[in-house]
């Protein structure tokens, strides 16, 4: 059997390679980090408002 085509990689006419998986990973990582920071700030705000 022949090797399967990698449909996640797009090679433009000018030779630029765009990997969908890398873009998806980047979006996911950025989203996770934004959520992490938001949660940490919420926790800090709740603790300060409740105790001081």
């Amino acid at each position: 059997m022949g090797k399967k085509d990698n449909k996640n990689v797009l090679i433009h006419d000018d030779g630029t390679i765009v990997d969908n998986k890398s873009t998806q990973t980047l979006i996911f990582v950025v989203l996770c980090r934004i959520l992490t920071v938001c949660l940490a700030l919420l926790g800090l705000a709740a603790f300060i408002k409740g105790n001081f």
Binding site: K7, F28, V29, R33, G50, N51
Partner: protein, 242 residues
């Protein structure tokens, strides 16, 4: 073909070296668990705690759905039974219990539902997945389980025997047998609050024996756990050296 399900499984499980998505997800989950515990440190809810409750419960709900969805990978066999077996596994039950507190937001008046908020403490168990040290400790406890149970039975027997003795020797000191059990537990663990003190010579003699036995018996599990822990650490080191 890109296996979406397998990728979801890799992300929700503890991260491997070089997997940025999984690492970011682990950090998010750890933060959600820690921040989700903040409302328990406060006497009253405030707008921020409600926001925390909604956000963390949504995150835990998505995590739970993703874990159930990839249960066949987790259990190691592709069958409907894998999903059922996973749903009743201890970690899946803890995951489910960590979502339950959100119900209390919609029915704030109910006393029982207010108690559901206490289920937040189960969220801390989610951290076990993300800490290698905790996994080692869990393995250690599993290995010395039989010895720990044996020591626990010994302690319980001793507490009951000394409580019965002191209850008979100092009838005026204790209203109920539960008070005697409380005294025996406090004495054997060498805490000694001093709120109940024996008055007779025999009572004081039993207290002295309890304190001495307590030092020996309570120290036993500590030694066993430490020995097993050191053994586990040396095994891990050998595995990496080989």
């Amino acid at each position: 073909m890109y296996d979406f399900k397998r990728r979801v499984y890799e992300v929700v499980e503890a991260s491997h070296v070089g997997d940025a998505s999984s690492k970011a997800y682990d950090i998010l989950m750890t933060t959600a668990v820690i921040v989700g515990m903040v409302p328990l440190t406060l006497k009253q809810d405030n707008p921020f705690t409600i926001a925390i409750e909604i956000a963390t419960c949504l995150i835990f709900l998505i995590d739970y759905v993703a874990r159930v969805y990839t249960a066949d990978y987790k259990m190691g066999y592709k069958s409907f039974k894998a999903y059922i077996a996973y749903l009743f596994s201890p970690m899946a039950i803890f995951d489910f219990l960590s979502i339950v507190p959100i119900v209390s937001l919609f029915l704030p008046g109910s006393v029982i539902l207010r108690l559901l908020k206490l289920f937040r403490v189960f969220r801390v168990l989610k951290l076990v997945r993300y800490s290698k040290t905790t996994i080692i400790i869990a393995n250690v406890l599993r290995k010395v389980k039989k010895q720990l149970i044996a020591v626990l039975i010994l302690i319980i027997i001793y507490i009951f025997v000394s409580a019965m003795l002191i209850f008979q020797l100092e009838p005026t000191l204790f209203d109920t047998f539960l008070d005697a059990l409380y005294w025996a537990t406090i004495s054997i663990t060498t805490i000694g609050y001093g709120d109940i003190t024996p008055q007779t010579d025999m009572g004081q003699f039993i207290t002295m024996i309890s304190a001495l036995v307590g030092v020996a018996v309570i120290a036993l599990p500590t030694g066993m756990i430490t020995a097993a822990y050191m053994n586990e650490i040396s095994k891990t080191k050998t595995k990496y050296e080989l």
